[in-house]
Assembly symmetry: C3
Homo-oligomer: 668 residues x 3
């Protein structure tokens, strides 16, 4: 594939035809080389059933050719037109309360509906065969942000039928379903698959195993929905890539499964999105970790394929729907783009070219404002492109090389959502406590799956290993045995993969030997924190306390309050050539820092920077490119090693301005 | 129409017939001269379809004649009886989630339903022809508080059909709908009106233009529902007035449209209603502005027809449904009544005569308690009537004469509800920041519409002029050109009237010339305030910041924090013979005060009073009547000018007691 | 019935058959003598319609015989199996919004459904005739926690039909319904019973009288549902008891009515349930009243039959569903058990034997953890059993003998839920302010019904006597006349029993003479407290203020703020041989304490203990057994009278350890 660095999301159908060449020439002039088109354009391209209206898009593609802009085409199945709804009102999805969600926004579709599938097939076949071989078209995106707005949809009878079929495929017999769902409890045994329904609202309680399978099914359904379209595209548009605009840690769809269908993954990033918790943001900013979560999402996206990726939608101005987020500060849009590149992005596509006159997203501003008059976003991005494009060509194929990994698992995330244990216990927040500490130390991180090969890593952190299979326990054991350092946290091994509890063994089950501990008791820290003593000082644990009984482990920290004061809170156990750590509670920032000091031996050496200044490198055996980024809204002192060569001559090696970046290069 | 000062809302059907003459004689003895009857009495007057039972009401009317009480009759369409529901269950309204709202309260009706319309026609025809010519009957009220409890109702198929018809009337073609709704966004184009539905809950997002039209339609529907009944009444009850009990700034129905059908408007006022935000009230009380919003509502009501009005329901005791508000303090009921008169009320009708034994409103207390034993309310109101009736006769036809106006617009209110921008940004609250400052200065205010003749005013304040038509911009321009002073605030001119964004021009569009500013950027102040510097001091702006680029305007205030510190926050521009002010953010109390000082030239001179002491006058060319009201719960010092003649001899010109009023007269 | 002290709730169907005898022998070894079985086992016992599978349970019963364990059997109608739902989907209950609640949890049933009744009849007949005569079976439980999860269910057409029939039974004619519901208000009159529906969601407001009848109906329906099953059981299983596991003050079902069907009542107690308000708990703990509410529930349960009772489910470890509560501290499980015994429990059944592998309640831990390895709970309970069993045999039939009673009424509770008046006014919380003060004084309390014989008591406290019938007023009058001391509180006598307001009389109606006061005015204390002066000191009242006008009563306390400062807040009136107290507001802790000092003459003498140390005795004419319990998490000093004989020799008469109990015996 060509070396493309910058793109925009463009909606020519929103603008008069006369404007198109003005827009495209302005893009060209900025340094844009790729545009994404048509992912919400169904009604413009098929205004009535079978009456395809492809001419206008063909003109746009020809204009793209004239301006040497490459094109990524989307399929518009996130927005079926009114005529589809009129024909098949029951594709409007059903929520868990049994009520429909109606036409008028987007994602008003049931992805199981056979009639809807047929409609999609007609559209995508016509569309892909019409444009699939166009020389400007280099790739495809199916639908948009699959899983978005579809959190708990759809519960309709088509989805129930698909769920039954999925269960039959997974379990074979109804007896096996009963076994794996523990239906004996509360008399929930099924005699046949026909008795199974979607987990709609109950009078009281849900079966956690059914709930987990529903989530797994839902992810599979959406992936199959993607595959259904991807096959048509591949048939009619050979030698083009298919990618998808993922949404970081969003978990409706298992992105590992989806990525198998893709040449590379993409990510949508809105760091001042209207949905932000601005109160929480302030706390993070005070600690200098405001953009640590953004970094985590970029690392996660890169980790999916352990390869470079695209940002398919990068925020380019103030954005929102009915409510808006804050406007980016000067320098921030560039800084976000550079952070994406630093963590492995090869191409940055800005959403969107120009703020739209109409619809739900009329305040999701683009590079150009509604007025069309180039302003701060335009000039900042244009400057960025000119400055960083050569560097991006240079680092293409060179990526961060972490020695530390954090385990991320969709199933664990689902299971903890189904049973959060503590009202504030959240799978991602808990993972993030580890990531944040590593981020502040400028230590690069990969995210890995549970059964992936962990041998590239010296240290693997596996938080909340709630669901545990024998194979998985063996994998963890082998890693430690061969010299790996492994950290697990509270609630490890509590469940089988079917969300049934482990019985007949002390926790953490088969892993007790590796960690040298048993867990016989635990406390849910409702409206109370627990004190934790480490090296004679008192810190704080929260939300949950596994009370550890070391069998052969050493105690690193003990509880210092509650009736289990003096019991172990954190332990370490040498096992084989490695070490295994068990952390019984959620650690506050200071305690996390002190705990991580214990792991110093296996942490890579990195530069110490002031809070909010991030350094990450893209490197290979010959060279390292260091990206230094100041996410704080004030200038900060830095000390760049002498053997780092400034990539841009104007850089000040002792100071980095507010919201600015620097790049250094070092030959090995 | 006769000169009637005081009335009560009376429900004889709730009481034994023997009680009626006792009640009426007590009313008479108090000074009551008018009673409102029958606006919830359908099942008592038509207990079964077509079986009218008018005798009891006829008896009441005859008794009213005996006691010389005039009567306003209501139609009971806010409470269709059980037999109507049994006959047509689908008049029970449908909410936006598709679920019905059932019988058992009130307003359980769909106002589009043809069968229900027919039922109403039968009732109102029979009722109006039976009682329409009765000599006691002086006027009518259709339904009750139209729009109340109907905020987002009804979404049923009849309403959808009516919506389609309304759209066809407004736009003519489906192409025009698509154009004005911007349906190209997210593939929402319609091929025919039949594809259009009510904006029920979606999976994700709403079309803001559809949402605005739905609100406008809804207002029109309710007004047409009123007109449908009013026509029958006018046919059968000639020479009687029709009025309606409005609810201040409630915005489901456009009261300007409704008022065209009415001889005069009325207002329902419950200043200690159970729904109050008592925490917010405390803050207002501390600043002495507890009753400023009540004053604003009275001014708004008077401004609708720029004429005297009735209070159709004035709170007369503690009130509530399942939850109650506070009981009025001694003096408050009188003070509320006097405040109403001061702002232009000609007649005060108290809700209700006696606390009801039964139903949802059994704790919505009346002048008499449940016991029937006259108490504090009875004696306070009786005293008030005797004291103020002569004055009310004297001031009839004389009204406040404001030189300052605030623009109020239903469409702007709807549009800001649909897209509040900031979680706490509220159209009425924003307007109120201006009103409150004027109130504290004892400056009388009219509310005006956008396209109304503003020539009577020296100063017009037009907050949040979000929707802007060319005609409207021209109107604003002309006003300034001819010497008017005009204040607009943030987000002015952002939208066309169809809720599509203005494009191809810098904001505020055509108004840039008048205001001498352009707005290229703005910030949404999420969880943060912005500092504003005016005359060297620092104040606070909140929620939103338009960053102003003066082209020819002068800068009054600048931002003093964020990256746009030193950019303009408030500007003034001399244009033609007038001045145009642009205020870029929501001002705190102190900043508002300082800003208003800038407008001193065009503010009328008024008396300075301590916080909580309000003065407003009803005046004509010969005379001014000054109403001095102490809304604070403590005595306060005042200084009444020597040339103001005390209306009541017992008044202390240097002190006004807690919750008391005084009246002065001055010949010009 | 045999003298059984300890039991467990056991679910053999959750475990392999091989485990059964291990479990039963472990129980036996602990001292367990009774097990509850099968109350959620429908699908295991009737896997398909009519295909009964009783063999496994028969084996369990035989094993129970082998281990000398008695058995209580449950009917499983709280969990109809999937095949029942498949056959009759419309037994899935309908919520007030018209949406169903679906299969997947429990209580997914409509208790009116005739087809479901038939299904139950088949099951219970087969089950009871199969096992009813088994020698191990000593008793029965119908369904489980009737009323749980069914708070506002079901509103389906079967329930509506049952409601109509119930109304016809209660009122005879539709005219009487109209009369008692006050349907004239808002035109709600009914012409026939067919027009009556369940009180589903309305657009605006509910009829409070309909709402009250709906609650009363619902309780009756559930009691009739119980009776329907109980009759079958009694026919097929003669000479066995039927009990039911009640839930303290839960009010969906009137437990007095239910208890008439039972040999004795049982109670389920989870003092660290996941639903607790831990913030509120902290406040209670600071005052030493953390377990006062638990004591109140135990007293209430004992009071239902004024007899000994069972705890059918006593918490035995950490518990929860998706969210967990805190784990019990060492000693707490024993302490909870002893508190139950102290207040009158004869038998303690622990929920559950072993933590379940599966389902909604997999974290509702049992005596054994999932691992099956005996831990803290097991050993603590085993020790308790051995220590306390002899005492329990000794005190059997001896109960607390309170001289003070608090009136509790389901109807008052319903009526205050329907109209709470103040957002924070809560019937149980208000009652609890009185209970708590008595608890802190170690004064034993009975709960009594309104029309019960109160002659055993010197003092009766009757809070919130909102609904009042003439018969009830007479009963209260008689009690005082004959020498009783009676305390009533605000809002007394406001309503007739049909939830219509009292009219034509000053409040509290007929009771004015007894209390020597009238109430003509009141205030709802929204966001404000009122000061109350008693004996020259200032205290605080909250939520509501009845302004008392003494006719012949003496004033104990006056208001000291608001416009009614100096008006009476608390009064006492000597009437006949007794005294009648009227308390006009909700008292804070200190004011309650000072008020209760006024009643010293009629309060029994008790030992003063530090906060959190509770003493209650079970006594008869010969002997008193004093249970001393330290509910604080710290050791506390006590002073045990010399004539109290230590029941356990190791007890320290001057100190009681954290979370520990002591027992003393005194011969009279």
């Amino acid at each position: 594939m060509e070396n493309l660095q910058f793109g925009v999301d463009y909606y020519p159908e929103h603008w008069d035809e006369e404007r198109w060449s003005i827009d495209l020439s302005m893009m060209k002039e900025m340094g844009i080389t790729v545009v994404r088109l048509a992912e919400f354009s169904w009604s413009a391209l098929e205004p009535a059933e079978g009456a395809f209206s492809f001419e206008w898009l063909a003109k746009v593609l020809d204009l793209c050719a004239a301006f040497d802009l490459k094109v990524v085409l989307g399929t518009p199945t996130a927005a079926p037109p009114a005529w589809v709804i009129e024909k098949m009102p029951d594709i409007q999805p059903m929520a868990s309360d049994g009520a429909r969600r109606y036409f008028g926004g987007r994602h008003h579709d049931c992805q199981s509906h056979p009639g809807y599938r047929e409609q999609i097939k007609q559209y995508v076949t016509a569309f892909a065969s019409h444009f699939g071989a166009h020389p400007q078209v280099i790739g495809w995106q199916v639908d948009n942000e699959l899983g978005n707005s579809h959190g708990d949809l759809c519960y309709c009878s088509y989805c129930e039928a698909a769920f039954r079929q999925w269960l039959e495929g997974k379990y074979g017999t109804i007896e096996a379903v009963n076994q794996n769902w523990g239906t004996t409890f509360w008399s929930q045994d099924y005699q046949s698959f026909t008795q199974i329904h979607a987990p709609k609202n109950t009078a009281s309680g849900q079966n956690p195993s059914r709930a987990l399978d529903w989530q797994l099914f839902h992810s599979d359904l959406i992936n199959e929905f993607h595959s259904f379209q991807a096959q048509i595209i591949r048939e009619h548009s050979p030698n083009r890539f298919i990618t998808h605009n993922l949404m970081g840690f969003s978990n409706v769809v298992n992105y590992h499964d989806l990525a198998k269908q893709l040449e590379f993954v993409s990510h949508d990033q809105y760091l001042e999105g209207y949905w932000r918790n601005y109160e929480k943001d302030k706390v993070e900013e005070n600690y200098g970790t405001k953009r640590a979560f953004a970094a985590a999402e970029l690392d996660f996206i890169r980790s999916i394929k352990k390869a470079g990726f695209w940002i398919m939608e990068q925020q380019s101005s103030i954005s929102g729907w009915d409510i808006l987020g804050r406007t980016p500060k000067p320098g921030e849009i560039s800084l976000w783009s550079v952070q994406s590149v630093a963590h492995g992005a090869d191409t940055i596509v800005y959403f969107r070219w120009r703020s739209c006159k109409m619809g739900t997203e009329q305040y999701w501003h683009g590079i150009l404002p509604h007025s069309g008059i180039p302003g701060r976003s335009y000039f900042e991005i244009k400057t960025l492109i000119q400055k960083i494009k050569p560097l991006m060509k240079e680092v293409k194929g060179i990526l961060p090389k972490p020695k530390v990994a954090i385990v991320h698992s969709y199933a664990q995330h689902y299971a903890m959502q189904i049973q959060p244990h503590h009202p504030d216990l959240n799978y991602l927040d808990h993972l993030y406590t580890y990531y944040r500490e590593l981020y502040q130390r400028n230590i690069a991180v990969d995210f890995v799956q549970e059964l992936e090969d962990w041998s590239p890593y010296q240290l693997v952190i596996a938080p909340l290993q709630y669901l545990m299979s024998p194979e998985q326990a063996q994998h963890y054991t082998n890693f430690v045995e061969k010299g790996g350092h492994l950290v697990v946290t509270m609630r490890t091994g509590v469940k089988e993969r079917n969300n049934l509890c482990l019985i007949d063994q002390a926790l953490p089950g088969d892993l007790s030997a590796v960690f040298g501990v048993e867990v016989h008791e635990y406390d849910c820290l409702r409206d109370v924190d627990v004190q934790v003593q480490l090296e004679g000082e008192i810190f704080t644990g929260s939300k949950w306390a596994d009370i550890l009984t070391p069998t052969s482990a050493e105690v690193i920290a003990t509880y210092a309050s509650e009736f289990y004061a003096k019991e172990a809170a954190i332990t370490v156990h040498s096992y084989g050539k490695g070490k295994a750590y068990y952390v019984g509670t959620e650690l506050d920032r200071e305690l996390m820092h002190r705990f991580m000091n214990q792991l110093a031996d296996v942490l890579p050496e990195t530069l110490v920077t002031p809070p909010g200044v991030e350094i990450i490198s893209r490197e290979n055996e010959q060279v390292s490119y260091y990206f230094v980024m100041n996410h704080q809204n004030k200038d900060q002192a830095i000390t760049i090693p002498e053997d780092w060569e400034a990539y841009y001559p104007e850089q000040d090696r002792n100071m980095i301005s507010a919201n600015q970046y620097q790049v250094y290069k070092k030959m090995k």
